[in-house]
Amino acid sequence: MSVLKIERKILEKNDQIAERNREIFLSNKIFTMNMLSSPGSGKTSLIEKTILKLGGQIKFGVIEGDPQTDLDAQRLNSLAIPVVQIITNGGCHLDANLVNDAFSKGSFSQVELLIIENVGNLVCPAGFDLGENIKVVVVSVTEGDDKPLKYPVVFRNSSVMIINKIDLLPFVNSSIDQLSKNALEINPSLKLFTTSCYTDEGLDLWCEWIKNQIIHR
């Protein structure tokens, strides 16, 4: 019997392509955000709202990832920005290669902020580097305030957490305080925002923060 030492990452290929993506984004001066959440927490709604508020000031591009349909891309079509839909055919996460492909299909070279909406899933996408600058995790109040404790990896790996659907707080028994506390328990450097895409509450602070990221990118 002989033993061959290998010591190579299983996701080595993905990480190499992610590194290439990072170089492409950097050389085009594009700030990239990888948005993660459970299905239906409001990723597309937040993207729509953000573009409606900042579209005049920042050049956006969006890559949409879904297991099936281009419904999310269709929703963004009226916003007059470059959008590419990735359909993963049931796949539970985006990988760096899919993003690399999508990027070459869109006209993104003038874009300042590229938002990548990942497949709705708090587990699988967390381990795949896409070459993004930051991961933004979205949780809605209807999901309960224990999500950070149940899905710690994605909260640890994200820079920002958006608590969405706060207009629904009166109807559910989860609290922003508890949700924030649980998230900070996992990752004390998480930047927190609370938003509603129905009342627009909190969206201005979020947009202000994004503008700063773009200016200082």
Partner: protein
């Protein structure tokens, strides 16, 4: 379900490393899986075993070593294992911690039968 993608990656990486003629000599592939890597060991084994069935790698064993989540404290410099849902230094209660281990996901070694 990303365990299937990971199992495919393991198989294709082994295919890149080991010359085709030597593939039947592979007995065991040893991998390290961090406790904080979001990988379910049983799903990964199931995915791997389903994918190799009827192929040249048919009887290869995938051996998983689970690596515990440990953090290094920026304040007291000590390394400690922690629970996945509480990032607090067990020694000094600081929250300024770096991941020391637990996110691993790599092929450690391949055991080959001698021919």
């Amino acid at each position: 379900m990303h365990e299937f993608s990971l199992a495919k990656e393991i198989i294709s990486q082994v295919g890149r490393i080991i010359p085709v003629n030597d593939l039947p000599q592979i007995q065991t592939i040893k991998i390290h899986v961090g406790e904080f890597s979001n990988v379910m060991p049983d799903s990964l084994l199931f995915a791997f075993n389903s994918l190799i069935e009827g192929t040249i790698l048919n009887n290869v064993r995938l051996e998983l070593e689970i690596v515990a989540l440990k953090v290094k404290c920026n304040i007291c410099q000590q390394v400690h294992p922690i629970q996945t849902n509480s990032f607090v230094c067990p020694n000094c209660n600081s929250r300024e911690l770096q991941l020391f281990s637990g996110s691993e996901l790599f092929i450690e070694s391949i055991l080959m039968k001698d021919n």
